[in-house]
Symmetry: C2
Subunit: 193 residues, 2 copies
């Protein structure tokens, strides 16, 4: 069954080992920030640093493994209709909108949405680290290191699949940052099989 995450909101759910999570971009050009924790011990979390190190690549796609801080496989990327995601940035937050966008009354962002969604699982705000930002297109200048957030490469109904390698708590959003989704806040869909 397909679940819909409304624009600028988020959710969290259990994903059992062996289950497949499909993250779908129903309208195209939308981003979904994903975080994950070992369901039996949430001190073990998705680690960008470990995953990038073991893949020797910043951009991960089909066949790549997302590792935990304890160097254990958490998720493996399956079919990937987009092939470009970000794994360097933290979820957008009140402070992101204040510092980067100069908003006077900033939205609480993906950070706020994940905090609310993860609370019932006993996962504290400080445990939200660098996310696997599904469909997020961050261009890099290899000389200067400058990054620029571009509209995602995803078209309507594109998706990426992830198979769980352990029992997980997964947090997932429909991104709240204009820069990430070409200033058109859209829903995200997902299904678990």
């Amino acid at each position: 069954m397909i679940q819909t995450i409304a624009p600028r909101t988020g959710t969290a759910f259990r994903l059992a080992r062996g289950q497949v999570l499909t993250v779908i971009d129903p309208q195209g050009e939308q981003v979904s920030d994903m975080v994950a924790y070992n369901a039996d011990d949430p001190e073990e979390y998705l680690s960008s640093g470990r995953s990038i190190d073991y893949a020797s690549r910043l951009f991960l796609s089909t066949g790549d493994i997302l590792f935990s801080n304890r160097s254990r496989p958490m998720l493996e990327i399956g079919e990937d209709r987009v092939g470009r995601h970000d794994f360097t940035l933290t979820p957008c937050s009140k402070d992101t909108f204040r510092i980067l966008y100069g908003d006077k009354t900033p939205h609480h962002g993906c950070q706020g949405n994940l905090e609310q969604a993860l609370k019932p699982f006993g996962i504290a705000p400080d445990r939200i680290t660098v996310a696997f930002n599904v469909f997020m297109h961050v261009a890099i200048d290899a000389e200067t290191g400058e990054i620029s957030v571009r509209p995602p490469l995803s078209k309507a109904d594109d998706f990426t699949r992830f198979r769980a390698d352990m029992d997980l708590i997964v947090g997932l959003t429909a991104c709240s940052a204009g820069q990430s989704n070409n200033f058109s806040y859209k829903p995200i869909q997902y299904r678990v099989d």
Copy 2:
């Protein structure tokens, strides 16, 4: 007074707000993994994701601010004789040597050294996230995202300075990974003024 961190070891210490930490590469081509925590509340830690987002740059140098997960300034980079550091990878660990190098009896790496050094401050192993890897030279292919760890650009006695924006616990290593330091394990020096 200059302190020396012996090859393949690490240390941790308090750095008061306003103090300046100078990280020195006495022989050249060595890396020092740095992590930092709010001394009054170690749940607040150095965040690669926040810092890269606010700088809009992967490579940080003079004038750039290293932010915490709570979006507060922790350290500001001062004089920087090298200008190239990494902020995407986690400290090398037993698993790094096992997975990337195929070592049968792997060294415990910067992760192990930081775990030992941070323990007296009550900071647990799972709290060691992506480090600011001083002098680490990670080349990036902007098209494929492939990364390759190159010898640091640092020459003997090059240094980088960091001014503390809050009272901190800082962990610092002389890196244990051959790839990072051109397969010559060397000391790191530092001073606090």
